[in-house]
Amino acid sequence: MRVLAALSGGVDSSVAAALLGEDGHEVVAVTMKLWGGESDTGCCSVSEVEDARRAAAQLNLDHHVFNFGEEFEEHVVGPYVADHAAGRTPNPCVECNRHLKFDVLLRRAELLGYDAVATGHHARVVTLLDGSRRIARGADSAKDQSYVLYTLTAHELDRVLLPIGALTKDQVRERAAALQLRTAAKPDSQDVCFITRAAGREAFLEQRIELHPGRIQDENGTTVGTVSAVEVVTLGQRRGLHLAGGAAPRYVVDVDLPTATVTVGGPEELLCDELELENLVWAAEECEGVMNLQCSAHGAALPATVSLQFGEQDQATVRVQWHEPHRRIATAQSVVMYAQRETTTGTEQVVVGGGLVR
C-alpha cells in the first residue's frame, strides 16, 4: 500500500513509520503544522517538526509538512475556547483526531493518491467477522489510546493503520533504539499541545475570552473560598481550589456560570446513576445493551446499560444507566463504549461508539 505516515516528532510515530517500511509499504512521512503559538510538548513546535524530519531522513522517507493551522483553529482551538466560555470541559485531543488527523489529513492523503494514513497511536484496528473494522485496545494497557480514537467512522477505519498497536511502549523504545532513531529516548508528550505548562490553561483562555472570578460555597451556601476564573473549574475537580485544609476532601459538585458560583461537597455528592451522551459516533446498530464505558483517557471501563433515544428533531442521544453509582462526568467530556465482539483474531473488547456528555 501507499501509506502517508503522520510523524509527530515523537518515538511512537517514528517507529510506526519504520514498521510500515519493513512491511513493504510505500511510505511517505508528513508532519502537520497545526499551531503557530507557544507550545512546550506539542506536536507542532519547531523542534518537533525538526525531530520528525530527521527521523524520516534516518528511515530514508520523504517528509512533508502540511500546514493545517486554520483547520486546527477552526475545529480544535476555537471550540476549546468556546466550550470553556460556556462552562463545558472539552477534550481537544479527541477533536484533533476527529477533525485533523482522520479527516483533513486523510482527505489530503486521498487527494494525493495514498491508500492509507498511519499514526503512532497505541491502539489496534481489528476486523469483525462481517469484515467491518473496529478500534481495539493497544497491547500496552497503560498506554492504550483507543479512547481518543472512538470518532473514527467506517470509511476512516478502512484507511487507517496503527502499526505500533501490537507493541508495548518498552518494545517501541527498543525498536527505536535498535534503529538508532533520534526520537528513541524522547519523553512522552502530555497535556494539551497548544497550552504551555508554565502559563497554563487560564493564561491561555484569558487571551481569548473574558474570565470571571467566582465564589466557592459549600452545600449549605456558605462561602469557603474564591477562584480567579470560574470558566476553568471542572466538575469533580479537587485540586487547585485552595480550600482550608484539615477537612475531608471536597470536590467541585456544581459550577454555575451565570452566578459565578462553584459548589463543593463530599465525594458521595458526585455520584450518579445516569448519563446522557450527544454528538454520537457509533458502529452500525450496536449502540444498545450492556457495555463497558470509559470516561477518561486512561480510566477504567465500567459496565452500564445504554439505550438510544431520539429527540424532537430525531436528534439521537444515548441514555446511560450505570450498574453501580458512578462519578459524574463534566459536560462535553467524551465517553467511549466498549463491547465484546468476535474478530478474525478472537474475542476482543472493541470500541462500538461514543459521544460527548450532555
Partner: protein, 439 residues
C-alpha cells in the same frame, strides 16, 4: 560576446521533459529519486548554478585557499581574485568597485541598508508594502512607515509623497526610502528614477519649509542637505534587469548571488560614495571598515562569474524566457477555469508567472504538482510554514479567498520548452483533482 544560453545538457533535459510519459498518477517522489527529473518552476526561490560559476569557483575549493586579509603570496592570490571579482561586479552594476560591500546575502544587505549600521539610525525608514521581509521587518522594528502599492505591485507615488510629508511635518527625519526594484512574488518592476524624483521633490519642498520655519527636521539632519537616500532590494531583479539603467537612481543596492545562478551565502550591498553608512558587523574591518569578517573568496568569485554570465546572455535569455512565460501564462489561462493573472505581466520580470486559482487550496495543488514532478510555490519561499495570505497579495488588494489559491511559477535562465509543456499538462489535471476533492 553572446554565449548560447542554457546549461550544456539543456537539449538532453528538454528531450527528457518532452518524452516524459503522460503524468503517471501521483507518483511518489522518493528522497533518493534523481533531482534532475524535476521540472523546476520555482526559480524565484533560487536558481540553478551556472556552469561557468562552478568552474570559476573550483580552484578556490582546493589550492587557492588564501585569506585576502593577509599579505603573503597565498593571501595576495586571494586579494587579486576578490579585486577582479569586485571590478567585474561593479561593471555590471554600474558603480565604482569601492562601492561594493560583500555581504552574506540579500538579507544582510537589506538589514544593513535599512538600519544604516550600528548604532541603528534614529531617523525613520520608509518602504513599500510589498518589500521582502528582510526590509519590511527591519523598517517595522525601527518604527518606520509603510507605503502602499498599486494593483500591479508598484509603489504608489502619491502615497509615498504623503508619507514623506507626514513624517517630516511631524518633526522627524526620514533616514532611508527602500523600494524594491522587482518584487519576488509577482515580479512587478518599479521605476526607481521616478521614485527618486518623488523623494527629491518632497525633500525640496521640505527644505523650503524648513528655511522659512527653522523646523526640527532640518536641525536634526546632520548632513544638512536634506537628501534622503534611496535603497533598492534588487535581489530578484538582478537576474534579469540591467542595473546600470534600472538601478541608476538608487543610492544603495542589495544583491544576492544565488538568485542569478551563483552560490548561496554571498551577496553585496552597493553603497554609492555620496551615501554614508556605518558598519553593522564589527570586527577585523575588512571591506573598508564597512563590514567585517573574512571574505568568502570562492563565493565572491562565483558571484562575479554569475553576474557576468547574466550580463552577457541577458538579451537572449530574457527574450527566450519571456516567450516561454507567455506560452505558460496563456496556456494556463486557457486551460484552467477561474485562473487569473495576478498582475499585468507586461511590466514584470520575464520569468515571473504568478496566478490565483479560484476554489483551490494552493498547498494541495502544489503537492499534487510535485507528485507529477513539477515544482512551484505558493509565495515567497521564506513564507512557507504559514498558510496565511502573503503580505504582497494583501497589499495588492487580492481577496483572501483568491490568495488561498495563489501559485508562483517562475522560470529561470535554463528553463526549457519541455518544462512549460509538462507544466501545461500537469496544472489543469491537478486543479481538476483538487476541485473534485473539494478544496
Amino acid at each position: 560576446m553572446i554565449r548560447s544560453p542554457g546549461k550544456p545538457n539543456q537539449t538532453a533535459v528538454a528531450e527528457v521533459a518532452l518524452t516524459r510519459t503522460a503524468p503517471t498518477q501521483h507518483e511518489l517522489i522518493r528522497p533518493d529519486s534523481p533531482l534532475n527529473d524535476l521540472v523546476d518552476l520555482d526559480h524565484a526561490a533560487t536558481t540553478s548554478l551556472r556552469p561557468e560559476v562552478a568552474a570559476a569557483m573550483e580552484p578556490f575549493g582546493s589550492s587557492r585557499y588564501g585569506n585576502p586579509s593577509g599579505s603573503h603570496r597565498l593571501a595576495r592570490d586571494a586579494v587579486r581574485a576578490v579585486d577582479e571579482a569586485r571590478e567585474r561586479i561593479a561593471g555590471v552594476v554600474g558603480c565604482r568597485p569601492s562601492e561594493v560591500i560583500f555581504t552574506s546575502g540579500g538579507t544582510e544587505s537589506d538589514n544593513h541598508a535599512i538600519t544604516g549600521g550600528l548604532p541603528a539610525r534614529t531617523s525613520l525608514p520608509i518602504c513599500s508594502a510589498v518589500e521582502h521581509h528582510a526590509v519590511l521587518d527591519v523598517v517595522r522594528a525601527l518604527g518606520g512607515s509603510i507605503v502602499g502599492v498599486d494593483r500591479d505591485g508598484r509603489i504608489d507615488h502619491e502615497d509615498l509623497e504623503a508619507v514623506l510629508n507626514s513624517v517630516t511635518t511631524s518633526g522627524l527625519e526620514v533616514g532611508v526610502v527602500s523600494v524594491m526594484l522587482a518584487n519576488n512574488e509577482v515580479g512587478s518592476i518599479n521605476d526607481l528614477s521616478a521614485v527618486a524624483a518623488c523623494i527629491a521633490q518632497s525633500s525640496r519642498s521640505e527644505a523650503g519649509r524648513s528655511e522659512a520655519g527653522r523646523s526640527e527636521a532640518s536641525r536634526a539632519n546632520p548632513a544638512g542637505t536634506g537628501r534622503i537616500p534611496l535603497h533598492t532590494d534588487a535581489v530578484q531583479a538582478a537576474a534579469w534587469l540591467d542595473l546600470r539603467i534600472a538601478a541608476a537612481a538608487a543610492d544603495m543596492i542589495s544583491l544576492s548571488a544565488h538568485k542569478l545562478g551563483g552560490p548561496k551565502g554571498i551577496g553585496a550591498l552597493v553603497v554609492r560614495e555620496s551615501t554614508q553608512i556605518r558598519p553593522m558587523i564589527l570586527g577585523g574591518g575588512q571591506e573598508r571598515d564597512r563590514r567585517s569578517g573574512t571574505l568568502n573568496v570562492a563565493g565572491i568569485v562565483g558571484f562575479a562569474a554569475a553576474l557576468d554570465a547574466v550580463d552577457e546572455q541577458r538579451d537572449l535569455t530574457n527574450h527566450r524566457v519571456a516567450e516561454l512565460r507567455e506560452q505558460l501564462m496563456r496556456g494556463l489561462v486557457e486551460s484552467v477555469d477561474g485562473l487569473t493573472e495576478t498582475v499585468d505581466r507586461s511590466e514584470t520580470l520575464p520569468g515571473s508567472c504568478h496566478v490565483c486559482i479560484d476554489g483551490v487550496d494552493s498547498e494541495s495543488l502544489l503537492l499534487l504538482l510535485e507528485a507529477e514532478g513539477v515544482l512551484a510555490s505558493a509565495g515567497s519561499s521564506c513564507a512557507s510554514g504559514a498558510r496565511e495570505a502573503s503580505h504582497v497579495l494583501t497589499a495588492l488588494g487580492v481577496a483572501e479567498e483568491s490568495a488561498q489559491g495563489a501559485v508562483r511559477f517562475w522560470l529561470g535562465w535554463d528553463s526549457t520548452q519541455g518544462d512549460v509543456d509538462v507544466a501545461l499538462r500537469a496544472v489543469p489535471a491537478a486543479v481538476k483533482r483538487v476541485r473534485e476533492f473539494g478544496r
